[in-house]
Structures are given as structure tokens and as C-alpha cells.
Symmetry: C2
Subunit: 346 residues, 2 copies
């Protein structure tokens, strides 16, 4: 019997000492890889790629073939949940996602009560296929968008620079907005449990737009729903490993960790490393936080940034990652350089 998991990422999430600092990158299955662009061109639309299990699984595995990463993250999209609740999701080339019809206080009841089985089963199948093909030493991550962030798209019908439509609805109709968030909490619990049951080793909760909210709104619309999701998932899967990413939370990261029992917190590149070490890593494992633009820039800026992160956080429970998704025009050679630098550092 092997008592050590030999999955460095799961070791960190389980509070065990890992053999090496685990590394993966947000959006590591993506456009900066020529093999991704090739498959993307064959698949048709982005949605066809994400919702065809053999394609999604293949794209998920691509970065692991090229780089010595410690985790794969299933290729999918945070808007699969609203899509599976009845909003029509489409991706307009060069303009990003569209959800129709937009949700407001008057049409909340048009959303389905449960996730469309046909849609989410495709994601679960992609996870099962990927887990079967993935080396045992690599962890497989599932994910979903956090309710606040998903709601910003559902209400605007698209991405918005300042998330004003959702923030305005939350100010004007907090009860209706709360009902939408509650609906998303329930759906997220179901969806994440389904991902675990399909073979995910851990999941990440992406709250990409957490940073635009005032502290009390952040507590209400980001912290409380995240705590409810973690509790709901663990009621079904007691030892579920969950990483929280309230991007832009800044000085609200400690209140977040005090209320949300995630196994690790992912931090953006604006977070101070001394704060992450003294206030966050003392409470939970930390993941992050290389500036994606430092990775894109390469050279001395990249080396310096990697070294600073490893010096501050490398000795504690730590997962090396970016502070946000890799940029599409990042040279592959820069990823190799980053990885060599992290491995050399420990």
C-alpha cells in the first residue's frame, strides 16, 4: 500500500509535504499552443470544442504532453452553467461570449431548476476520458465560475468592462439578485459534485470579477456563496479538495479565508508577497501569482518575478501558477523557461 499520493498538487491541498512545488497554469489549454489552434480550427466553434468530449479531453491533455506540469484542468468554460440552466450560449469571433436572453429581475423564473443533463454530461465525459489518459502523478482539476462572476455575464448577456449591469441589479433589487445567486449556488454544487464523481481530483472556483465589489457586497455576493458551495459539495463528497480564486480581493482575502474553508487560495499578481506569506499561507495553501505579462515579456522580468515568488512562498504550502490566465500571444519558450526556473528553485 502506497500512503503517499505521489500527486504533488493533491499533497499540497491535503496538507502533506509535497515532493516538489506543483506547477500548472490557468488557461494552460489554450491559444498560445499551436496544437490547440490546429484542433480549434478543426472543431468548428469554441462551444463545439468544449462540449465534444473527445476534443475537450484532447485539448486538456495537450499542455501535459509538452510541459512537466502537475495538473491538467478540464477544457471548458465558466458559462456552461448558465447554458445548462437555459440561457443560449454562443461565442462571437473576436467579441467573446453571448448569453441570451439576458437575465433581469423580471425573467429569473425562465431559468431551469436543474442543469441540463445532456450538456453537463459532456463535461463529465471529458473529465472521465482525461483522467483515464492522464499520468497518475498529475492531478485533474475541474472548475466552475463563482455565482457573482457568472451572474455578471447572465445579467449583461456578455462580458462588460466594469460589471455595471450586475452591480446595478444587486443594488436596486437585492432580493431578486439574491435569488439568482442562490440558484447558482445550488447549480454549482451539483455541477462540481458531478465533476468529482466523473474523476476530478480537485476543483477551482473562479470568481474573476470579485475585485469590483465594495467590501460588504463582496462579503454578501462572493464570500457567502463560496462558503455555501464548499459546504454543499462536502456534504456529498466529504474530503473534496477545493481551490478558491476571488480575483482582485486584495485586503479582503483574509476575511474570505476566515469564512470559506477552501484548501487553497489562488492569488492575483497584485497581491503583496509579504502579505501572502504572513497572512494567507499561515491559514491555507497559496496558489499563484506570476503576472501573465511578465511571462509574456520573458527575459529578466520573468526570471526576477519567478524568483521573488519562490523566495517568498516556495517553502510553505504552495502551488506555482499565474495570477490570471496565460495570454494567447505568450511564446511557448517562455513557459519552458518559467518551468525550469521553478524546478531549479527547489
Amino acid at each position: 500500500m502506497e500512503m503517499v499520493s505521489r500527486q504533488p498538487l493533491l499533497d499540497v491541498l491535503s496538507g502533506r509535504r509535497s515532493e516538489r512545488t506543483p506547477v500548472w497554469m490557468m488557461r494552460q489549454a489554450g491559444r498560445y499552443l499551436p496544437e490547440y489552434r490546429e484542433l480549434r480550427a478543426r472543431a468548428g466553434s469554441f462551444l463545439d470544442l468544449a462540449l465534444t468530449p473527445e476534443y475537450a479531453s484532447e485539448v486538456t491533455l495537450q499542455p501535459l504532453r509538452r510541459f512537466d506540469f502537475d495538473a491538467a484542468i478540464v477544457f471548458s468554460d465558466i458559462l456552461i452553467v448558465p447554458h445548462a440552466l437555459g440561457q443560449t450560449l454562443s461565442f462571437v469571433a473576436g467579441e467573446g461570449p453571448r448569453l441570451a436572453p439576458a437575465i433581469d429581475a423580471g425573467n429569473l423564473s425562465t431559468l431551469a431548476d436543474t442543469l441540463d443533463r445532456d450538456i453537463v454530461a459532456r463535461v463529465y465525459e471529458a473529465i472521465a476520458r482525461t483522467r483515464a489518459a492522464l499520468p497518475k502523478t498529475a492531478a485533474l482539476l475541474g472548475f466552475c465560475g463563482a455565482p457573482w462572476t457568472v451572474a455578471t455575464y447572465m445579467i449583461a448577456g456578455q462580458g462588460t468592462p466594469d460589471q455595471a449591469p450586475a452591480r446595478l441589479l444587486a443594488y436596486r433589487h437585492p432580493d431578486a439578485f439574491g435569488q439568482l445567486v442562490d440558484r447558482l449556488v445550488t447549480a454549482s454544487i451539483e455541477y462540481l459534485c458531478g465533476q468529482f464523481e466523473a474523476g476530478a481530483d480537485a476543483v477551482q472556483l473562479f470568481d474573476t470579477w470579485a475585485g469590483v465589489l465594495p467590501p460588504e457586497e463582496f462579503a454578501r455576493w462572493c464570500v457567502a456563496p463560496a462558503a455555501a458551495i464548499v459546504a454543499g459539495v462536502r456534504a456529498r463528497i466529504p474530503n473534496a479538495k477545493i481551490i478558491g480564486f476571488p480575483r482582485g480581493a486584495g485586503m479582503n482575502l483574509v476575511p474570505y479565508l476566515e469564512a470559506v474553508p477552501v484548501n487553497a487560495v489562488s492569488i492575483d499578481w497584485m497581491t503583496r508577497l509579504d502579505y501572502a506569506r504572513s497572512e494567507l499561507q499561515t491559514r491555507r495553501a497559496v496558489q499563484g501569482n506570476l503576472d501573465p505579462l511578465a511571462l509574456r515579456a520573458g527575459g529578466a522580468a520573468l526570471d526576477y518575478s519567478v524568483d521573488a515568488i519562490m523566495a517568498a512562498l516556495g517553502d510553505g504550502p504552495f502551488i506555482f501558477n499565474l495570477g490570471h490566465g496565460i495570454l494567447p500571444d505568450t511564446p511557448v519558450a517562455h513557459v519552458e523557461r518559467m518551468l525550469a526556473r521553478v524546478r531549479g528553485g527547489r
Copy 2:
């Protein structure tokens, strides 16, 4: 002899107890006012409005005629400085500002050494006209953009969602980027001194995009230049009153205040009020921080937000303001409600 200034805003900036909590709003001279829209339509372009002293002065005075504000801020734009250094500034309807040619590591030397006198003299004349017409109890504010924020537009040639072009140049060519920042520090000192000499009672330094930088880059490109500007202005005008606004600085606000001897710090709506009270107001006067969307939403959300700010900060050295500029579609009645609520609170 009157020893009390009877300008509540200057009292706060001078460390005196003010008769009432001073109030003004960022972008208070702007599109939410029908009288602004009327004059804007007559003036021609936005730039014609800003650079014609009688128009700029009139627009500056408009909100003071309507609301019992304690300060006017000269109607201008943070991109006047690059315009006066030789970049051609234009405003494309519905798309925002354009600066041409874009600046990169290779064409820095095309910028002028000093500000074009004809351009900045128009701003100074607008200030002189406004000060002459403004009630003595109201303060007149000048302003400029901080070097980092201004550089993001100079390098991209326009606004960008993530300020990537400037951040990338700073990573790849820190020496060239530093030369641009030094140039802007010198120009900002000259420009702010000119505004004081024309009649400004205080000035604000807007670092709108400070929040996208990692902490060490923030220290290098936001904190150090702000400190140099404050020192440079005070070398010529010893008691110059200066408000700093490093928007999005979050947990970097204390390091900012430790290094930059501004008289007050303006905070955005994401800043925790308990932190502002315990960590910032103990060091300097604080200005802020109503969410412009709470003002736009009105009703209970507005009342609650105003009350929370006044309860946390109203007893200390404090200037009531928004956390960023007022949104163009904000009803005038909401501004009246906000003002009544602040006045009722003290």
C-alpha cells in the same frame, strides 16, 4: 484678521478642524448635467471645450451653481500633458481619446522637453477665470494624471482594458520606460506649479491605473514618481496642498502614504472602511469613497452607503467624494439626495 480659512476642504488638507465635512465629486463637471451637455454641443469637440478658457471655466462652475459643493475642479483632461509634449490628442466620439504617434522605446526623443506654453496657458487661464468667479468658501482644485497612468495612454495611443502595452514596455525596457516617467515627473511639476500660480487652491494627482501593477512595479512606477512630484512642487510652492489618488492600490495604500507626503489620499470604493479608518486616516486625511454605481442606483443602496462612509470616516479628517468619477447616466436627484444625506450626517 480671519485666522480660519472658511474653506472646509482647505481646512481638512491643512490639518485644521473643518466647519463641515467638505464634499465634491470626481467628474462633477460632466455629462450627467443637462447644462454641460448643452454647452458641450455648442463648443464642438471635447478638446475645444477643455482648451477654450471661457468654456472650461463655465463648465467648471456649473455644478457649484446647482449643488452646495465645497470645491470646483477645473474642467480639463489628464492627457493635456502628453498633448503639450507633442503627441496629437483627439477624441473619437464613442471611442475615447487617441494620442498619436504612440510612444515606444525608439521614439521617446520626439517628445518636447517642455510643455507647449500655448496649450497649458489655456488651462491656467481657465483656472484664473474660475477662481475669480467662485465663492471664497469653495476651493478650486487643479489636477494632473500621474506618470504611470498618463504613460499607459501615451504608449498604447489610446485607452486599453488592461494597460498591457505600457506594462509590457516597462517589463522589457525598464530604462526607456523610466526615462518616459522621468519626463512626465518633470512636466507634471511644471504643470501643477502653473496651476497653483494661476489660482488653484490644491491639486489632485490621478493614478487611475495604479491597481494593475504588481507591488514592486507599483513602488517603482507609482510611488516614487508621486513622491518626486510632491517634492518638486513643494520646492517651488512650499505649502502646496496635494491629494493623491492611486486607484486600486488596496493593501499598497499604506506604503504609498509612508513614501508620498500628500495631504490627503483619495480611496476607491473597494477599500475597506475599517482599514481606511485605522490605517489611513491615522496617517493623513482621507477622501472618498462612495461607489459611483450606488449613486447611480439611488434609493436604499445609496442611503446605506453614504451612512456607512460617514459613520466610519466622518469624525476624522475627511472629504466626502466618490470612489471614482460620477457616471454619465446618474440622475441629478441622486446627487441632491447624497448631498442632503452627508450634510444631515454632521
